[in-house]
């Protein structure tokens, strides 16, 4: 059982399925919000709501699950997402996985499958957080090769996340390469305009950069 109380979003046009998933999420000690269409998921996420994971049906009226995944991918929003559907079209699933879906559960599903999906989604969040803390710790200790060793895989594991670029910026900053650091803080912001640590760094560097007449 996970100790942290997480928040999940469930999108399915069948209220019975939504309720069932919510029951199992609650059984694991977490909270869940339910919506019936893909557009609502985007509205909630764009509205600033934070979720540890999303369960989405593939076939929904209006924006379906695949369109939702595409939209999140285009907006560079990285959030653990599990597809739950009775229809497993191979091409659609392949595209969904390429664009960030974490897992697929076919209907009907057992409570255990939902519990496993919750664990997978939370581990995904925890992994990035744990790795980030490790990298930051190594940078503080000036153990730069070690930090780089932990950091490089994060780029391939979390290509849409702003965190690897931010961490790389911190590393270059600690090594005294401020131009390279600024470039990576900017790259981090390009991936997520709202990522606070990069915004702060960017604001800190930008005046100096402009003064020196360098391009961003």
């Amino acid at each position: 059982m996970d100790e942290r109380k997480a928040q999940f979003l469930i999108a399915d046009d069948e209220y019975k399925v939504r309720d069932l998933i919510r029951k199992y999420v609650n059984e694991c000690g977490h909270d869940a919000e339910c919506v019936s269409i893909g557009e609502e998921v985007l509205r909630k996420i764009y509205g600033g709501n934070r979720y540890d994971g999303v369960f989405t049906d593939f076939r929904m009226p209006g924006m379906d699950g695949l369109s939702l995944i595409r939209a999140l991918h285009e907006e560079q929003i990285r959030i653990p997402l599990v597809i739950i559907s009775a229809f497993g079209n191979v091409e659609a699933l392949t595209e969904a996985f390429k664009k960030g879906a974490l897992d697929y559960i076919s209907k009907p599903f057992s409570p255990e499958e939902i519990r496993d999906a919750i664990r997978t989604m939370l581990n995904q969040v925890i992994d990035l957080k744990t790795s980030s803390n490790t990298v930051k710790g190594l940078i503080e200790q000036k153990a730069f090769p070690g930090a780089l060793k932990y950091l490089l895989p994060l780029f391939s594991h979390f290509p849409s996340s702003p965190i690897p670029h931010y961490l790389y910026g911190l590393l270059r900053e600690a090594q005294g390469d401020y131009d390279e650091a600024f470039r990576h803080f900017s790259a981090s912001m390009a991936l997520d305009k709202g990522y606070e640590p990069s915004i702060k760094k960017h604001e800190e560097y930008r005046p100096k950069h402009l003064k020196e007449g360098k391009d961003e």
Binding site: K16, D19, L20, K23, Y24, N26, E27, C28, G29, S106, K107, P108, F109, S110, P111, E112, E113
Partner: protein
């Protein structure tokens, strides 16, 4: 947090008994799948039923695979045919290794067969007899 673990339950047969029991289990927060060859039988499911339905023949192993029988905690064979109930119960036990299999048995003469294969049973005739006996005993007691 719920205190009791949710089960994954497969119910074969959506007649009056199967549908009501499925509704009860679903209401108690278990994940339930009802399988029936006749889609109109799903109309018997009560409003509180929040589980899944599969139209198909449960004697077809592929249908049981689709229902993820290998993940089931409880398997209930509740059709009105003893042969079907016996066959699907056997498959659930031996192929899908479902830990708890309960079957409805109409003809008490078939009970030894089910028990020989260690399938738990519900026999409506015996249950009715037992209830009738209790009622008769109560009346006899009152008449003394």
């Amino acid at each position: 947090m719920s205190k009791r673990k949710s089960w994954y339950v497969i119910v074969i047969g959506s007649g009056r008994f199967g549908a009501r029991l499925a509704g009860k289990l679903s209401y108690e927060d278990h994940s339930v799948v009802v399988i029936d060859t006749n889609e109109t039988n799903f109309d018997n499911l009560p409003p509180e039923y929040t589980g899944f339905t599969i139209q198909g023949d449960a004697t077809d192993v592929e249908v049981l695979k689709l229902a993820k029988a290998h993940k089931a905690d409880l398997f209930l064979a509740l059709t009105d045919d003893d042969n079907t109930n016996f066959f699907v119960s056997q498959v659930a036990k031996d192929i899908f290794h479902v830990p708890h299999v309960i079957s409805r048995v109409y003809d008490p003469a078939n009970l030894p067969l089910f028990h020989e294969f260690k399938i738990e049973t519900i026999t409506p005739v015996l249950l009715a007899l037992s209830t009738a006996n209790k009622m008769l005993e109560k009346i006899a007691e009152e008449d003394k």
